[in-house]
């Protein structure tokens, strides 16, 4: 049994933020949970999937975030509590539906959890999801620690059910992927019965059809719901003030920034000068509460990540209350005290506080920090990101890169989001030349492939992963086929949503909960749409290269599916296909014309250069036995022997 079920009410557990969110949903009696994998959000659905049978929860990895929201909303329309989960980009994907849902309203409590990634620790952007709450006029909550992550989710369901609209909860990487102590509440025993009432009038939110029509009427209702939420916010224990009665400076913050701010105040020892207002209900801001605390002082510092959302909204409130609370001086992002990019930490808050309060702060003696930095810079070689040892992507990009080089027309590759994004870097031989949203590689290629009429002769290749293929590539692929765009799509099929931890997707024969599911065949889908399709194994570089050359000769849309399981996949991990070794009598090192091709260019972490012997060698601990390096060694010094 999973540890998030094992604990009785009142017991204390060390949980990851995402597990705390999942536990909160279970304590709220969630019935339907849907999402699409994306760091830092994935563990929420994974955790719920692990307990779905015991708790009778329907859990799915949806094909994309928009569908996840729709699946969750169906649960809500049928009277059940439902959850949808995604990273920040996902809210963009789902926002089209969300706009309509927010006006329509919900029935069973519905909570949208968006996990943002300030500093882009594992993203290709540090976009904010909070603005959707304001733009689409739905309540927003932001937990500040692990206990709140659990408690706030439960409260969000109650609030949603009370106001009959979706409630958004925003987490961040440093909360979702951090762990802390959480005291459990009770798991409810509720009867879960789904029924969709649709027989009433369109004006009846509980018995009628679900729609945003008539729009102006429903929009007005939506704004009334927000006012109801604000009334609850005014009393919420998720907003709390600590500090002196008349502080010199009021620091307003929320989310993980609360922990940074609290620590910064303690590092500087200014507890008697700075008041800390932690806000958990961050949109719309509760005006009475804010007026009370803005009245404490005339200096305000707002600490948040990334762009000034809270800060701007507080400034609007300050303007509204100006007659009663007097003019305020703000120290925030607009004023340059807090950066508008990257993630926050205690040191950044210390730096802002030191400037405002004219304090000196030295974490360690400067002589020490300078010396440590100097030694580290010279003594710790940097670690560029790399594909793992035995990663099929390294093999795929090796061949794609070489084929384009040999073709000689300066062809290029358009990519998107996945581990294969690393092909922008030397580990993928700098093969990727565009990198944007999920599915954008094939979309851009569709456009590039129509530029022949303007003299463009460069071969155009797009790459997409197998999970991304279903998530967002299909409409662009249909577009490219319909418009006869002359491009080659390479599907890097590694049998899973590998980057985020092998979640299932529609191309696999299992679903999120491990049950058998009908797999949708990428090859057949492409063939049915009229594409020329070939399949190859990236660990067979010669065959793959030959196939690519053949496809370049064919006009129109071609698909090459490169099929090889991720080296870290549970099925493959720890099992070597080949025993790989270097024949030191054959490897002639620097006298070989290859100029250390294996370690200098191919650069698999499983290879090493033996400086003394001047030969290549295999690192036994790291090599996973894919055998690809044996295929690229021009002198045949790297040998592979099939493991029986």
């Amino acid at each position: 049994m999973s540890s998030i079920l094992r604990g009785e009410a009142g017991t204390r557990h060390l949980l990851m933020g995402n597990e705390a969110i999942a536990r909160g949903a279970l304590e709220a009696g969630v019935c339907v949970a849907a999402g699409y994998p994306g760091t830092p959000s994935s563990e929420i659905i994974e955790t719920l999937a692990g307990v779905s049978a015991q708790q009778n929860v329907y859990v799915e990895w949806s094909v994309n975030e928009k569908v996840a929201m729709e699946v969750a909303a169906a649960g809500s329309f049928a009277g059940l509590r439902s959850l949808c989960v995604m990273k920040q980009n996902g809210v963009n994907v789902g926002s089209d539906f969300l706009l309509h849902l927010a006006i329509t309203g919900t029935r069973g409590g519905m909570v949208l959890v968006a996990c943002d990634d300030p500093g882009a620790l594992s993203s290709a952007n540090e976009g904010e999801s909070r603005h959707f709450a304001r733009m689409l006029e739905i309540p927003l909550l932001e937990p500040a620690d692990f206990q709140e992550a659990k408690d706030m989710i439960k409260w969000a369901f109650e609030l949603s059910e009370e106001i009959k609209n979706v409630v958004m909860v925003r987490s961040v990487t440093r909360l979702s992927h951090a762990s802390g102590n959480v005291i459990f509440g009770k798991l409810p025993e509720i009867e879960k019965k789904a029924f969709f009432h649709h027989e009433g009038s369109i004006m009846d939110p509980l018995q009628g059809p679900m729609s945003s029509l008539p729009v102006v009427y429903k929009h007005e209702q939506q704004q009334e719901k927000l006012k109801q939420a604000v009334a609850r916010y005014e009393e919420s224990a998720f907003n709390a003030y600590s500090g002196p009665r008349s502080p010199e400076l009021l620091l307003v913050t929320g989310s993980a920034c609360y922990l940074y701010s609290k620590e910064a105040v303690s590092l500087l020892g200014v507890e008697d000068r700075v008041g800390l207002l932690k806000l958990g209900t961050t949109w719309p801001l509760p005006p009475k509460l804010l007026e009370k605390y803005l009245g404490l002082t005339d200096k305000i510092l707002v600490v948040e990540e990334v762009i000034p959302f809270l800060e701007e909204n507080i400034k609007i409130s300050a303007a509204e209350f100006a007659a009663r609370v007097g003019p305020k001086t703000f120290f925030g992002k607009r004023e340059g005290y807090i950066p508008q990019v990257g993630e926050m930490n205690s040191d950044r808050v210390v730096s802002a506080l030191s400037k405002i309060l004219s304090l000196e702060y030295e974490a360690v003696p400067e002589s020490y920090s300078q010396r440590a930095l100097e030694l580290s810079n010279s003594g710790a070689p940097g670690r560029d990101l790399t594909f793992c040892a035995g990663c099929p992507h390294r093999a795929s990009f090796w061949t794609i890169h070489n084929t384009l080089q040999m073709d000689g027309r300066q062809g290029f590759v358009c990519g998107d989001i996945g581990c294969y994004s690393l092909a922008m870097l030397p580990t993928g031989f700098n093969t990727l030349k565009t990198l944007h949203a999920m599915g954008s590689g094939i979309g851009l290629a569709s456009g590039f492939g129509k530029l022949a009429q303007f003299g463009m002769e460069q071969p155009v290749v797009a790459v997409v992963g197998d999970s991304t293929f279903f998530h967002a590539a299909l409409p662009a692929l249909i577009n490219a086929i319909h418009h006869q765009s002359d491009i080659t799509l390479v599907v890097l099929d590694n049998s899973g949503t590998a980057m985020t931890g092998f979640q299932s997707h529609p191309g696999l024969g299992v679903d999120a909960t491990g049950n058998q599911a009908p797999a949708i065949d990428v090859v057949k889908v492409c063939q049915a749409m009229g594409a020329t399709v070939r399949v190859s194994d990236p660990f067979e570089p010669e065959k793959t290269q030959q196939t690519l050359f053949e496809l370049f000769e064919i006009q129109g849309l071609k698909v090459l599916v490169l099929k090889q399981m991720c080296a870290l996949s549970p099925e493959k991990k720890g099992k070597k296909m080949f025993e790989v070794s270097v024949d030191e009598t054959v490897c002639i090192g620097q006298t070989c014309g290859c100029n250390q091709l294996c370690t200098r260019i191919f650069k698999c972490p499983g290879l090493n250069w033996d400086k003394e012997k001047q030969v290549s060698k295999i690192d036994e601990f790291i090599c996973v036995g894919c055998g690809m390096c044996a295929s690229i060694c021009p002198s045949g010094a790297i040998r592979k022997k099939e493991v029986a």
Binding site: S3, H13, L14, T39, L121, S122, D145, F146, Q147, R174, H177, A178, S179, G180, N181, A256, L259, Y260, K262, E263, N345, S346, D347, A363, V364, P365, Y368, S369, R371, A372, L373, L375, S376, G379, A380, P381, G382, R383, D384, L385, T386, F387, C388, G418, C419, S421, T427, M499, T500, Q596, T599, R600, K603, P605, L607, N608, W609, D619, F621, I622
Partner: protein, 205 residues
């Protein structure tokens, strides 16, 4: 609940290594052991594609109070557990101070810049001298090599945890280690892990 006296509150530990070495798991075990003692534990970490082959850190904040921020402030680390020698240097540069203690596994993992010959990996003697200069106390342990003798290099991480218990700065004990592991491991694997833990304790005593 058994409340402990900590040398500092919060006591800050960084477990560092290279993506794939298993430091996330190591930090969970240590966190779980201390949480069992009734201490408040906050662990900050990052994972995902951006860590492939890169440096990976877990920040542990151990306190008799409440949750601390998931990132240790600059210069405020008390104990570094480094699963790889040069990673100890990298952590010292940002989080080190003259009173920091360092436990370091001696087995190097070469970055691709080193494999390709673009960068040089320093000699272990050099690294040892640098760590000595920048720390109050340090232990260099051949954990991976010893773990290979037990049949699995990953047990090196368990030896490092044993070593952390052995130096006696934190209320880490064998019973909690056993309990933390028993949740997820079969009996035979548990025994091997306990052996590795004991070897780790022995390495610093």
């Amino acid at each position: 609940m058994n409340r402990m006296n900590l040398p500092f509150d919060p006591y800050n530990v960084i477990i560092t290594g290279v993506g794939g070495q298993g430091n996330v798991m190591a930090s969970r075990i240590v966190g779980n052991m201390l949480s069992r003692k009734g201490l408040s534990v906050t662990i900050g970490e990052t994972f995902g594609a951006s860590q492939r082959g890169g440096s990976v850190m877990s920040h542990l904040r151990i306190s008799t109070g409440s949750s601390w921020s998931p990132q240790i402030p600059n210069g405020k680390c008390h104990l570094i557990i480094s699963l790889e020698p040069t990673e100890a240097m990298r952590v010292l540069a940002t989080y080190g101070n003259p009173n920091v203690k360092v436990l370091c596994n001696t087995r190097p993992i070469h970055a691709i810049g080193v494999i390709s010959g673009d960068q040089q990996y320093p000699d272990l003697d050099e690294i040892t001298a640098w760590v000595a200069e920048l720390s109050e106390a340090f232990w260099f342990l051949d954990a991976t090599e010893k773990a290979m003798e037990l049949g699995n290099p990953i047990l090196g991480n368990i030896m490092m945890i044993g070593a952390a218990a052995g130096i006696g700065v934190l209320p880490l004990d064998r019973k909690d280690f056993e309990a933390a592991l028993a949740e997820n491991l079969s009996a035979d694997k548990l025994e091997l892990n306990l052996k590795a833990y004991d070897l780790g304790v022995g390495m610093v005593q």
